[in-house]
Symmetry: C2
Subunit: 240 residues, 2 copies
């Protein structure tokens, strides 16, 4: 049986469950227009904001900075990226910056995500194992109807993926052995880190996460335990 | 409007949402019978086990012991209480002790709880703010159908109620001010501690939590923001 002995499925979220690029672009478009950057490409703005994501977390992973939740990093990154689009963040009312920062709380799930999760939930504990913070994940889930059993991830583990603690402390709070947990992700590097910690792995490629020209994560880089094209197919592969 | 400005309802669980005494007694009865204590009162056994709950957490609250999740404290307390019922824990297979320890994961909700939570969830973020650990709360919720938006509480806050950190760190992860959160509890002392931290308060008495002779928490000890006889009435009082 596929994933025999697995009791929990934990999910990468940004890119795997929800379309961060489309959601951020949608909310950035009117902001950019209001602030004199009407010609900027909102998806390019989303990409530029997101490019600062890994370096910001790396400061935490390296120990240079204590654990800081993602909402704070996103806000810092927003203020850092605005000048690249000709906008001085000091000239934008803070409430407006905050509203745009919350775009990450309002991302839409991929079309198969909600129905697939509902099927998977019948047999497994399902939870995000995201670098997003708890409040972000709650807002996103309530808006989109994601039927999580719990909100886990970086803020509960106090560690950002792909640090091993992010996976191992998640296993600890679930009171499960790592091999009883499967990470579902659209990213080969996330799955590789989870596998190194003993978790099982399911790859669900999201070939348009980075837009039409996506070059990475189109196919499995290792023999992951399961490969499925969407959450519905994943549920079917697991006999649900 | 009642609870104006409140965005999240957090719940005490043992006693407020679920009937711990009835559930533990139900699972303890066959165990006691199997181990030569067939004459023991299972509800009295539940009471005796539970009496060790506050002292065990006090060791953590006082700093005498690092944060230790409730499943571990329950297991230690179980082994400590068995001799009072004539049972030597060293003579019981560990798997059987563990199975009984998980009785706390299998507690039934009070009859109004699931339907009431479903109504409250339409407007508020709802989450346990329990001293129970994450895995315990997940198992309980999946079995009983408690529709939490997230699992919060002592293990996320790394502090046991009524320590202020338990309430204040919960507000922090929710990214809300304390006054935007209301604690729902059947216990006046829990509500008093929450109020000292700035949370709003809703008292839902559970007059049979401690059995037919219950003497405490039958009525409000302060002018809590809301008093309601069950979760359905609470939802109605909030216009839901």
């Amino acid at each position: 049986m596929v994933l025999q002995g697995v009791r929990a499925l934990v999910f990468d979220v940004f890119g795997t469950v929800v379309d961060w690029r489309g959601g951020v672009a949608r909310d950035a478009a009117p902001f950019l227009a209001r602030h004199g950057a009407a010609d900027a490409d909102p998806a390019g703005f989303a990409d530029a904001w997101r490019r600062r994501y890994q370096p910001a977390m790396e400061a935490v992973r390296s120990g240079a900075r204590p654990f800081t939740r993602l909402d704070v990093l996103h806000r810092e990154n927003l203020e850092a990226v605005l000048p690249d689009f000709g906008i001085d963040p000091a000239g934008v009312p803070p409430a407006e910056l905050e509203a745009l920062n919350l775009a990450w709380h309002r991302l839409d799930p991929w079309p198969d995500a909600v129905a697939g999760l509902a099927r998977l939930r019948a047999r497994y504990v399902i939870a995000p194992l995201s670098n997003g913070n708890i409040a972000l994940m709650i807002d996103m889930a309530k808006r989109a109807g994601l039927p999580w059993d719990a909100i886990l991830g970086a803020e509960v583990a106090r560690a950002y993926k792909p640090a091993p603690e992010a996976y191992l402390r998640t296993a600890e709070v679930l009171a499960m052995r790592p091999e009883e947990i499967c990470l579902v992700a659209a990213h080969n590097d996330d799955l590789a880190a989870a596998r190194r910690c003993g978790l099982r792995t399911a790859f669900v490629p999201r070939p348009t996460e980075h837009g039409p020209g996506q070059a990475k994560d189109l196919s499995p880089a290792q023999d992951w335990d399961v490969v499925a094209e969407d959450f519905g197919t994943l549920a079917a592969r697991l006999g649900l």
